[in-house]
Amino acid sequence: MNDFFSKTDLSRKDAEAVISETLNKCDDGELYLENSKSESIVLDDNKIKSSSYSSDLGYGLRAVTGEVVAYSHSNEISKNSLKQSANNLSSTLKSKKGIYNHEIPKTNEKLYKDINPIEEKSLNSKLELLKEVNNYTRAKGGIVQQVTASFAGEHKSIEIIRAGGEVLTDVRPLIRFNVSVMLEKNGKKETGVYGIGGRQSYDEYLKNNNWKKVCDEAFRIASVNLESKAAPAGEMKVVLGPGWPAILIHEAIGHGLEGDFNRKKTSAFHNLMGQRVASEGVTIVDDGTLHNRRGSLTIDDEGTPTEKTVLIENGILKNFMQDRLNARLMSTRSTGSGRRESYKHVVLPRMRNTMMLNGKYSQEEMIKSVDKGIFAVSFGGGQVDITSGKFVFNCTEAYEIINGKIGSPIKGATLIGDGPSILKEVSLVGNNMMLDPGIGTCGKAGQGVPVGVAQPSILIDKMTVGGTQL
């Protein structure tokens, strides 16, 4: 375990005293301590472009009463600094009175091993592999103009001290390996990007020449795009492939089901609990308990063990995702969804691994049923306007569908839809559910956290495709 108090004038006992005194008349709160190490090694343009390492340490002291959150954070763990933070919190909450909720569920399960992925693979072997990646990918032919490959690793230890001295800890490894390829043919340039990752050591993901598959996939996507023609513009049927395209669910539905937006009644879903928001065959869960997955957490950043939360069951809205604050104000319990990017950030209810479960149709049946539409296999980023419910995402690999058959690849285009109505347009749900490769980062209120998504293929009856071909 990390000892946050070994190199400072602040003893654990002092800290506990400050916490208890500050949170005495509050509903909730804690001292959150974090020690994180991270590395980034990037190969680009035939060279090691950068190798950097970062070591960060800090705390965030939080007091919550009623609807009000007071937060103060610093990277100086000392008596003085903590006292200053405590004063800052007390002055915000001076006129408020609450009753501290000591109850917090416990878990003995660990969803990932206590390893430091940065130290488990030597720098030399990382540099060596990046060189191999570059050579292997460039050997695919003269059309390869640029190869970028990177390792990103992180080891984060957290400790949560609650009023009364209760302590909760977690150690979280996280890695990502990424390859990006740019091809040029007949004056046309296209890129392809692919990556893998999760909460295990680099070698778990790269072994058995798995890294070659990452290079192959990035090259394949870029090759497909070299042959792409202009995308159509207008409303049409859309078949989404399995796995990563589930970021549609993340954007269209997921954000709108986070507790804070619903407590504040700014989500387009806030008054739809218990009502039909999707077609009969649609069930969506947000699961923080999958072993070693990028979006999984043994405990969330308030100390609550994560769980598998059913959001939509057979088309009916069942639950929102909650942190402790929003759960208390909405008279329900935390779903273990309270997350923060780091000690520099307040806790917000966030997604973990958001998944649409299997239906009974094959992808082939879906494509066959479409006269004119598109088949979207992979996406870049997406975004949503919570209040109006409108969301977008960008295709990075897509094809036209004509008379039930997959046709030419089409250029990257934005798809736009309406969150509360899109899932009612889902007419077929596939039987081929797949998890994404472990590369997602979700942004909310300026905070990025690692997440996962999964889905089978689905057929959406009507969506607007933002191409240039009228």
């Binding site: 090691i48 950097s52 070591s55 995402f393």
Partner: protein
């Protein structure tokens, strides 16, 4: 509030000295400290207060042409020493790169003329609360408004940049900002919009009533949007959106994209890339400017550049490393542009609205639909239909698409340039965009 120059200099010098002792031939240290205090309000009640205190270092060490870097917010002497040792060990085994080096000494900033980027004024949280109350009260004057969230943030920062060639400089800066997000509702439709102010000096902030009223007005305008048919049509970008075209342009002329060959503007130097009437400036020395700076994060002085002259591309944004690759001198743009703007056009906002019989006026785009390699552009959008210069009705759930190479050539700029962000554009008309709707 923020630590003084002396304190930061000591840490920077310690890093450089220790790195040298361990065998670094060159090194650069950046020490930054920032303190900020934010208060957030919601529906006329206090929602959140946040205080943030961040001290951090970044050190880059060179051994000949080998390079590596570390950063940390754990500044105990022992930890810094361990990290520098690690940095040196990493540097030793990182392959050489012939273009790695400190900047040319003659390009380093020497004197700096005070641009008034720091305001020592401090505003207590209680005063911030008074300001926000007035913001939200003015937003709620409109009965359609059902929800407001507003915030007031004050931040002060200081930094020292030092390198082993003797560069040692830094300065304080301050920022005061307030914003209001309003939600309006009629029957089954909810919409959201916002207004904000962000300045270096407390006294330059907008009045709270202006913020609240504008947020409410903009939100209510968006209620009951329609979806329109797909068509090819001229569109107008509000100033909130038009500046995004400049940001894309800036990314496409960064020396790193150019050197890697991954920009659609590669090999376009001295060629017409914009309409003839277009001039683009990057001016780092605007007094109290939000993007103003004296030098970049390598210490290279930044001077004004006319990036585009009568539609012709004249400069890339060059740092030391990519400059050496491209055989160009750094122009102090390691961190991108400073105060980037289109020179204002000759047509008024009202006349721009009337240029076409029917146009779409876009106030918000969503999604990350700019492809810098191909120049392809496709994003979700909301806005208004404008006919004969008159706003008719709001529209949403549409996309707009095109290619930047064409977009740049088909731009007309109004004369309403204001400096509200670090990157600023007047209202902009773009001919011939494809809109996808029904």
């Amino acid at each position: 509030m923020v630590k003084d120059q002396n304190h930061l200099e000591k840490t920077a010098s310690f890093c450089l000295d220790f790195a040298k002792k361990l065998g670094a031939t060159d090194s650069t240290a950046l020490v930054t400290h920032s303190v900020s205090e934010t208060v957030n309000f919601r529906n006329k009640k206090l929602d959140e207060s946040e205080r943030s205190d961040n001290l951090g270092i970044t050190l880059t060490t060179y051994i000949g042409k080998k390079k590596s870097s570390i950063s940390s917010s754990n500044l105990t002497e022992n930890n810094i020493k361990t990290l520098i040792e690690r940095c040196i060990e990493t540097t030793k085994i990182t392959p050489e790169d012939e273009f790695n080096s400190l900047p040319d000494k003659d390009l380093l900033a020497k004197e700096i003329n005070d641009l008034n980027l720091y305001d020592d004024d401090h505003i207590e949280n209680d005063e911030k609360i008074e300001y926000l109350k007035e913001v939200e009260d003015s937003a709620f004057e409109k009965k359609e408004i059902i929800n407001t969230e507003s915030g007031f943030s004050e931040s002060k920062s200081n930094f020292i940049l030092a390198n082993s060639d003797g560069f040692l400089n830094g300065y304080k800066s301050s920022s005061f900002s307030a914003s209001c997000v309003a939600v309006a509702k009629v029957s089954n439709n909810m919409e959201r919009d916002y207004e904000f102010t962000n300045v270096c000096h407390l006294n330059d902030m907008s009045k709270p009533k202006q913020i609240g009223r504008m947020a409410a007005k903009k939100t209510i305008q968006k209620l009951n949007p329609q979806k329109i048919e797909s068509e090819k049509i001229s569109i107008i970008f509000d100033r909130r959106i038009s500046k995004g075209i400049l940001s894309t342009f800036a990314s496409a002329i960064s020396s790193s994209s150019i050197a890697r060959g991954t920009s659609f503007l590669k090999d376009k130097m001295n060629e017409d890339i914009f309409a003839k009437s277009i001039n683009i400036f990057d001016k780092p020395d605007i007094v109290k400017g939000l993007g103003s700076r004296y030098f970049d994060s390598e210490g290279v002085k930044t001077e004004e550049l006319k990036l585009v002259d009568d539609g012709v591309l004249k400069h890339y944004l060059v740092d030391t490393y990519n400059g050496k690759k491209l055989n160009l001198k750094s122009n102090g743009r390691r961190d991108g542009t400073s105060n980037l703007f289109f020179e204002k056009g000759s047509i008024s906002y009202q006349d721009l609205l009337k240029l076409n019989k029917r146009t779409l006026y876009i106030t918000e785009t969503i999604g990350h639909g700019s492809n810098l390699v191909t120049g392809d552009y496709s994003v979700g959008a909301t806005g208004f239909v404008v006919e004969n210069g008159v706003f008719k009705y709001p529209i949403s759930e549409i996309t707009i698409a095109g290619n930047f190479k064409d977009i740049f050539k088909n731009i007309t700029i109004a004369d309403d340039l204001e400096f509200k962000y670090s990157t600023n554009s007047p209202t902009m008309l773009i001919e011939g965009m494809v809109v996808a709707g029904k």
